[in-house]
Each structure stands twice: as structure tokens, then as C-alpha cells.
């Protein structure tokens, strides 16, 4: 069984990973973090676009979440794969979704501004994903 856990730097996302580790304890868990998402002045997206090696820059931006996911997995005596994608969070998650059996994600992470900017990621994924979705609250 392959489980996709999309994560940002929010506490809710950490709950989602913990839940996935508890419930799907013998599954292959992949943490997906999306970087360079649309923001008011597009700072992060432009910073990645400007870098000499965009892939490397994207991975650098995803490192904090990757480290945190690694710590949480270590607490559960296991490991997770971490993958980084760029751009719009819900679109990136949905693009990745079909390679997995199920998705587990936190209900919301961002501020009001984030929600206006990128919409409610959990809701979009929940409505459009081709596989079963668990929304952790």
C-alpha cells in the first residue's frame, strides 16, 4: 500500500503524518511538500525561478518540512520518502495522487491570505482526487 501525505510547515500537517504512521503502519508512506506556491508578492516562487538550478533550489526550500517529517517518522521507528514539487499546492498534490492508493492530509494550514491566494488545499484535493482521501482534523 502506498500512502501520500502532503505536508506544509503547519502543525495540522504533522498531525496528518502522525495519523498516517499510526493507521497505515505497514504502508509505504511518501511525504509530498510543495514549494514556490503563489503568495502576495511571489517571493518564494521567484526565488526558485531565479536560482541557477531550479530543482536544487526547490529541494532547499522543502528541506525544513523534509527534516520535520524525518523526525516524526523516526519517533515512530520508521522512515518516510520525501518528495518536493513546485507551484500550486492542490494541483501538485493531485498530479502526484494517481501513483498512490490513498492520501492523508491536514484539514488546513494557512492564514486567511494563503487561503485567498491558493484556496483551501484540503478541500480541493478531497473533491478532485482519484483515490480515497483522509482529512485529519
Amino acid at each position: 500500500m502506498d500512502v501520500l501525505v502532503p505536508m506544509d510547515d503547519s502543525e495540522m500537517a504533522e498531525h496528518a503524518l502522525e495519523y498516517a504512521l499510526d493507521v497505515f503502519d505497514d504502508a509505504e508512506i511518501t511525504v509530498l511538500t510543495v514549494v514556490g506556491e503563489p503568495s502576495i508578492m511571489w517571493g518564494e516562487a521567484a526565488a526558485i525561478a531565479i536560482a541557477d538550478d531550479m530543482q536544487e533550489a526547490a529541494e532547499e526550500h522543502g528541506q525544513t518540512v523534509a527534516d520535520r517529517a524525518g523526525e516524526i517518522a523516526a519517533d515512530h521507528d520508521t522512515e518516510v520518502d520525501v518528495s518536493v514539487r513546485t507551484g500550486h499546492p492542490s494541483r501538485a498534490i493531485l498530479d502526484a495522487a494517481e501513483d498512490y492508493d490513498t492520501i492523508v492530509l491536514g484539514s488546513h494550514g494557512g492564514s486567511v491570505a494563503d487561503r485567498l491566494m491558493v484556496g483551501n488545499v484540503a478541500e480541493t484535493v478531497f473533491r478532485r482526487a482519484p483515490v480515497p482521501v483522509t482529512v485529519v482534523r
Binding site: 503563489p38 511571489w42 518564494e44 525561478a49 536544487e56 486567511v112 491570505a113
Partner: protein, 415 residues
Amino acid sequence: MVTALVVVGLLVAAFVGYNIGGSSTGVAFGPAVGSRIVRKTTAAALFTLFAFVGAWTVGRNVIDTMSDGIVPAAQFSPTASVGVLFFTGLALLISNIYGVPASTSMTAVGAIVGLGLATGTLDAALMFTIVSAWIVAPLIGFGVGAAIGRYLYPHLDARLSFGRMRDPLLRIDRSGFVPRPGLNENASTRDLIGAALVLVIACYMGFSAGASNAANAVAPLVGNGSITMNQGILLAVGTIGLGGFTIARRTLATVGNDITDLPILAALIVSLVGATIITVLSQLGIPASLAVSTTCCIIGLGWGRASRTATLAELAKPTPPGEGETDLATGSLATSPAGEESAGPTVGQLATGEAEAPTEPPENPDIPGIGNEAPEEVTAESLFDPAATARIVTLWILSPVVSVVGSYILFALLL
């Protein structure tokens, strides 16, 4: 009654100026504070100084337009002035509480337009010029950013280097009775030049922010003669400075943070372009948003730089409507194994802009993702996709539209 309204007007104007100071200091001095060239207090002091110079010189033209241009000065009765300022203040309040973008200039002009429509005194020709400028200025920002990003940025990047400093370059010496500014002695010449450049451009941005924004706070009051032009400028800059010294500490961490995500060189380029656009428009008496022009320049710079691997002919090929989204997934799968490009880019790749230029080999095609999933190609299109851009443009347009409608309804009922 009338004097009470004037006092309310002054208070709302002060509130508007205070919030402008809070948000503009972050945009202007974000890079300088982020790279530790100056501390927040020094940034606020410099911002206030240059905002004052900008407002006192070029800013007069914008105050002229907004106090006696879009609608005749006679329309700014004490009630109308308070109403117009109320909408500007409300937009700023929402923007600062929720971190949602709202252009002060566009909202303020929107409120005046509502007043003009309700009283039938709107100068339509002037508004046509202003709205044209609102469309053209961001496009120029985007175009200049894209050109620099595509052709000039790598060369600039190779020649200029900017580092983070351990101690602020410009510090306030508090050992004496009077605090004195002084230079950090432990900085190299190269650091000094780079830092000086960051600082000069931040001050220039402060200048343009003052020039364009002073009018938003005081134009209605100058229009109805409650205060003179000079008093208005002093009130605007005084309250802008107050905001710079107080709430800017927080906005430097939010609004300013977005711009400090950029490498310093990129932040400098977009600041320079944004400030120049706004200074020119202010000189012409046209109120416009510094944040919108700067943001468009950021998108242009990033997009131009990220598109460097595609040829212009490929870029010119439009994405077929509806196909872009679904092709991204299949396109990324097709491009992940190295060496497949040798057969030439597929139409799907061209459509999503994921193709590498045929003349240039793909950069490090073997870079693995952090995990074992086939890594998705990072492209300009994935970072600046049209849907998200449209969403943000809508947000920027929303505040002046709400302001026009709200103020029209208010003044149609009230006057």
C-alpha cells in the same frame, strides 16, 4: 458639527497614514533589514526621511490630482472627505489584519470615483488616463523584469555579490548624549559597496512610496481646505513615520518577508524598477500602487529567468486552453528519464513549456529528488501558472472595485 467632522477627518487621515507607513516600510526596507544592513529602527528613520522628501517634491502632483482633479475640490465636503478616507482606511485595516493585498492608491481613487459618480462630477478623461496607467505600469514592470531576468540577470549575478552581515552596517551610536549614526568598521570595501547599493535603493523606494502615498491620506482634506498642501504633507509623512516606527516591525516580518525570500540582487532589481515606475507616475500626477508594479516585476524577473532554457519561438506558442493542466502530469513523466529529449521535444512538452532548448543540454538531468519519486521538472510555468496569477490579479482589482461600489452607494444615499 463641521469642526467635529474635520477632527474626525484628521483622525482617519492619521490612521490611513499610520497604516501606509506600516506596510510600505516593509516593502521598501525588507531587503535592507533582511540582509542586516540596517536595524528596523534605522530603517524606519530613513524611510520617514525619504518618504518626506518624496511627498514634499513629487508627491504634490498626486495630491493635486486627488484633491482637485478626479472630482473638483468643491465636492470634498467634510462629510465626503471623511467618507473617502473611511474607505481607504477600511481597505488598509483589512489588508493589515489579514495580510491580504489591497492597494491603498487604487482604493483611495476608487472611493473618490464613487463620490464623483454619485455627484455626477467625475472627470472621466482623467480617470481614463489613470486606469490606463494602472494597466500599462504593471505590464511595463513585468516586461522589464522579464527582459532583465532572461538576458541580464546571469551577468549581473556574476559581477555583483551580496552577503549577509553579522552586524548592521549603519548603526546608531548611543554612547553619547545625542544618538549618532555611524558605520560598521568591520566591513570590507566590496561589502560596503553592495550594502550601500541596497540602502540607496531602499531609500529610493521610500522616496517613491512617499511621493505616491501621501495623497491617499490627506488629499480629501487638502481638497476641502481644512488643511493646506504643506500641512497635509507634514501630517501624512508624520503619521507614515509613526507607522514605520511601530507596526512596521510586524509587517517587516510578513510583507517584507515575501520580498526578502528573493536573492538580494533580485530584490534590488525589482525595487529599482518598481520605484522608478511609481516615481515617474507620481511626477505625472498619477496615483498608482508600488506593490502591484513591484510584484509584476518579481513575476517577470522569475518567469524570464526560468524561461531561459526555452527559445523565444517555443515561448510564443500558446498553451491550448484546457490542455495545460492535464499535460503537466504526463509531460513530467515523459521528461524525467534522462536522454529522452534527444528525439526532440513533444508537442505536449512545448505546450506546457517544459522542453529544454534544443541547443542547450538539460542541466543536470540526473538530479534525484529528495525521495525516490520521479522528480517533476521545475519550470517557469509550474511556478507562475496562469490560473494562480489571474487569482492574484483579481484580488488586486477587487479592493478598488469594492471601494467604488461602496462609496457610490454611500454618497448616493448621503448627499
